[in-house]
Structure formats: C-alpha cells, structure tokens
C-alpha cells in the first residue's frame, strides 16, 4: 500500500469520525432535576418555617421540584410546587431561548416578568440560567443558598441525568404542544398516567398455554389485575422523601457545592 493510499485512508477515516462526532456535539441535550427545600417542616398540610443556619436535611421541607430540559440556547423548566407537603401540583412550564423567558399557559405564552411566577422568589432563583440554559451551581449534589447573615434560604438537591432524551419540539413556544405535554410526569411519579394509546389492548383473551421450564402450563391472563396495577399511584413527593431518607439519587453523599 502506497503512502498516498494510506494518507487517503486516514483522511477518509477522519472524515467518518468527524461525521459521527459533529452532529452529536451539535445536538447535545441535557436534562436535570432540582429538589428545592426551605428551612421548616410540613405539619398538618402547612409549612411551618424555621430560621436556621443548619443545612441538615431534617430541618428542611421540600417545596418544589424543577425538571430542566436544555438544548442550547433553548431550555425548558417544568416547575411543580407543593402547597401541603403531600402532593405536587401540575407542572408549570417555562421556556427560555437565551434572550426571553416565557411561561406557557393553556392560552399561550406570557413573559415571565408579567406572570405571577415571576414574582415567586423560589421560582426566580430556580430560573437563573447561564448562556447554555444551565442553572447556576454544580451539576450534581447539594447546593446551599444562604442569606447575608448566614441563615439557610434554600437547599437544592440536584441530579443530572446521564443521558437526555426528549423531543426538540418541547422547547419551542411556537409549537402548540410545547406546554401541554409534561415531560416530567413520566419521571416524577408513577401510576394512573396511562396514555390513551395504551388503554385499548388485549383484554378478552382466553386461556393461553405458556412454555415454562416445567413444561407448558395453562394460564388465564388477568387484565384486570394489570389495570389495577396501573392505577396504583406512588406520588412524586413520596418518592422524593424515600430517596432522601435512604440517601439515594440526588441525596447520595456527595461534596457540597456552594454558590
């Protein structure tokens, strides 16, 4: 093989590698979640605030979860607040494009500054993003915001997904579906969320015979049991508390990141 042939081969290989890498870099998406706590406790469905310099999680109450989806310069935040410490409300969708930030409602998009969300200090703090649409602070772990006197204002437990998979259309306010389909609903809770496409299915099948290591056995499918299984709800807040108590997910012991 001549030197020229080898060179051509190398150039071709480099082109193939570039062709594979460049689109991947251009299409880089990220996805992460913040569990936002404030000092205090939920008691009887009411938040009893506390003033503390102690950032330990047992003095904190979960008040909000924010799921972020970004493909620079566009980003999307789905904000779920809890008013009783028991359930999250439906998400509110905020879209950014590097220049404007808009709240998406059923009627259309409204600039954040003119929407009630814009007056919410916790939401404003959650929506401080950089040029790439990423919120301030570490990619993973605990982020503590303190007041000038050292008291804890809020503690964020952040978790970045290893890989992001969402439709670009969800980042575009001109797309009518951008605010209506909640991406976070699939990752924040489970149960009673069947899509309409899933409802109609084999329900009236008779006795089947299935192959097992013990030979063929007759089985009567129990579709009603699966319907019941699908309606079984584990709330997002319950999951969050479970993770926190077990020091799992975003609550796993990691170095603290300060702003």
């Amino acid at each position: 093989m001549s030197a020229r042939t080898r060179l051509s081969g190398a150039a071709l290989a480099a082109l193939v590698v570039l062709a594979a890498v460049v689109p991947a870099a251009r299409a880089q998406k990220t996805q992460w979640s913040d569990a936002v706590y404030v000092p205090g406790r939920w008691q009887g469905g009411r938040l009893v605030p506390a003033r503390t310099a102690n950032q330990a999680t047992d003095t904190l109450a979960l008040v909000m979860r924010v799921d972020y989806f970004a493909k620079p310069p566009r980003w999307r935040a789905e904000i779920r607040r809890t008013a009783d410490g028991q359930n999250f409300a439906d998400p509110q969708v905020v879209l950014g494009n590097g220049a404007d930030v808009q709240v998406v409602t059923a009627l259309g998009a409204t600039p954040l500054a003119r929407h009630a969300l814009g007056g919410d200090s916790l939401v404003r703090a959650a929506l401080v993003v950089d040029a790439n649409g990423r919120p301030q602070g570490a990619a993973n772990g605990r982020i503590v915001d303190r007041a000038a006197d050292g008291s804890v204002q809020r503690v964020v437990f952040r978790r970045t997904q290893r890989s992001a998979a969402f439709d670009d259309a969800m980042l575009d306010p001109r797309n009518s579906s951008a605010g209506r389909n909640f991406l976070s609903s699939r990752i924040a809770a489970v149960g009673d969320q069947r899509s309409t496409a899933v409802v109609a299915t084999a329900g009236a099948r008779g006795v089947d015979r299935v192959q097992t290591p013990r030979g063929e056995v007759p089985v009567t499918p129990d579709s009603l049991a699966i319907l019941r299984m699908e309606r079984f709800v584990v709330g997002a807040l319950t999951l969050e508390e479970f993770l926190r108590q077990g020091r799992l997910g975003p609550y796993a012991t990691r170095p603290e990141a300060r702003r």
Partner: protein, 315 residues
C-alpha cells in the same frame, strides 16, 4: 450506517443483480432468475422482520404479557409492600434512559424465587425472591436487572424476529390475533428464559443502574449468592433453568463491579426488613452444607456508610 442507507445499498445491489440477470444467457438465466427470485424473496422477508415496534405497541404488548404473568401468579394487593417495592424500583428506574416508559411494580404471590419484566415497564418480583433477600440493595439490584431487560427491549426484539412478524407490514397490522401471537411469543420468552447474551446485558445494566441510584452495587451479586446457597430447592427450579449458573454470574458481576469501580452506596438492610419481613412467605432455606463465599468482590476499602434511615415510606 443508518437503516435507510443500508436499505438503499441493499436495493442497489438487488437492482444490480436483476440488471445482470437480464443480460445473462438463456440457459444460465433460468437458474440465475430463480436464485435472484429467492434472494428478492429473502430480502423482502428480512425487510419485513425489520419492522420496528413502536413504543405504544411495546406497551400494548407488554400489558398483554403482564396480564399473562398475573394470570400465572396472582398479584399481591398489599399496599405497603407494593409501595415499598415500587419506590425501590422507581429509585433505580430513574437511572434508566427510557423517558417513554412508565415503570410499574408488582409482587407475585408464589414461593418461587424469580422476577419478571414485561415490555413497557411492568416489573414483577415474587414473594419467594423477597423472602431470601436481606437488604434493599439486593432488591434494587434485582429490579434494576429487570429494568435492564425492558430498556434493551429484549422481549420485543425476540418478538420482532418471530416468523409470524413477517406478515406484519406496519404498526396497524400488529393488532387483533397478531397482537395475541406477539403476547404469546413474549410470554414464552419471559417464562422460558432470555438468551445468555441478554441476561449478561441485563446483569451489567442492573449493577450500573443500582449503583448510579446510590445503592451498593454488590446487591445483585449478593442475591445471586443466595441462589447459589439454595441450589436444588423447589422454589428455585425455574430460575436455575432460565439463568446462567450462579457461580458464572457471580464472577461476571464481580468483574463488572471492579471494572467500573462501583464502590460505596447504601445497603439499607433495616429499611428492607421493616418493609418486607413479616409480609413474605417463609424463605427457601440455605443448604445445610456451607454456603459459597460471599459475593463481595475484593474492592478497595469503602468509605463509612451513612446511617440508614428506617422510617417507613409513604407515612
């Protein structure tokens, strides 16, 4: 190469062959035409079996398979136990990159030691399996293994390659009796076992998902070592028939844990005991003979574990 490019290349080859056949001598042409016809027929069959199964169809098939699982083993309706298993499952499912899947978890009423995952996110574990576990990390490892099967669409890929799928030309064709056949084929895969490669892949993903969620990655190998020490017992008949022998699995799992440096993580045996003990049937007992050595690999010293919380979830 993308599927579309590959299809174009294949079509160009077929056209080229047809072109050549047209110019061949008559005597040879007959044989060539026959061969070409066979090639075209084979290519068409391959193209048909390559029909992708959409996410919605995956869930639809999965519901049918899950119903078959629930028909063979009744689902336990113990809210506290189901909530606990679901929470552990959701903790690890959060690490699995399938946003199109909603995971649901159920406990099956049988002393058999096993776990199943139907496409679309229906994950089951038996009371018998819970009965031989000692920590939440083990449960997380087993559920993560099942989630690995779902994420990699192992059952769906098995169905897609089935002969009857050659007749299915689009998603709409995957309905009625064809859907029932898909459910039947998938149920057979579930109960009679995945390929060795699929099991190995699910094992790899299992330890990765569990460790990524914050659990001790040795949970799954520890569970496998429990199987090893109970070999030959009735409730383990099927899991032994459908999975690689524990010793081989243990070695492979430990290699993955070492290669990926999956250290640290929580085991949470107290929380597991509080939520599962007393809610499961008597466990299959270890053999009288000395059990195999513990599955823990020779990892570097781990940092001190945080004290596990034992508060009951959902309260």
């Amino acid at each position: 190469m993308t599927g579309r490019t590959g299809w174009r290349a294949g079509a160009a080859l077929l056209l080229g062959a047809a072109f050549l056949a047209g110019f061949a001598q008559p005597a040879e042409a007959q044989g060539l035409r026959d061969r070409l016809r066979r090639v075209v027929r084979g290519a068409a069959q391959v193209a048909q079996t390559m029909l992708p199964i959409s996410a919605d169809k995956e869930v639809e098939i999965g519901r049918g398979i899950a119903a078959t699982v629930a028909g063979r083993y009744p689902i336990v309706w113990d809210q506290a136990l189901t909530t606990y298993v679901s929470l552990v499952g959701l903790a690890v499912a959060g690490e699995a990159p399938r946003p199109d899947i909603i995971y649901r978890f159920g406990v099956l009423e049988t002393p058999d030691v096993n776990a199943f995952a139907a496409p679309g996110g229906y994950v089951f574990i038996t009371r018998g399996a819970l009965g031989i576990m000692e920590s939440e990390a083990e449960l997380a490892g087993v559920l993560a293994h099942e989630i690995g099967h779902v994420n990699r669409r192992h059952v769906i890929e098995g169905i897609r390659k089935a002969d009857f799928m050659r007749e299915v030309r689009d998603q709409a064709g995957l309905s009625g009796s064809t859907l029932d056949r898909a459910v039947g084929a998938g149920s057979n895969v579930l109960f009679s076992g995945y390929s060795r490669e699929d099991e190995a892949e699910a094992d790899s993903l299992g330890v990765l998902y569990a460790a990524s969620a914050g659990y001790d990655a040795t949970g799954l190998p520890t569970f496998v070592s429990h199987l090893n020490s109970r070999a030959g017992q009735g409730p383990l008949t099927e899991i032994f028939a459908t999975h690689e022998r524990p010793q081989g699995r243990l070695e492979r799992l430990n290699r993955i844990i070492q290669r990926e440096s999956l250290t640290g993580g929580v085991q949470l045996p107290e929380r597991f005991a509080q939520n599962v003990r007393g809610r499961t049937a008597p466990a299959a007992q270890p053999q009288a003979k000395p059990a195999q050595p513990p599955a823990r690999p020779p990892l570097p010293a781990q940092p001190p574990q945080p004290a596990p919380q034992v508060k009951k979830p959902g309260t």
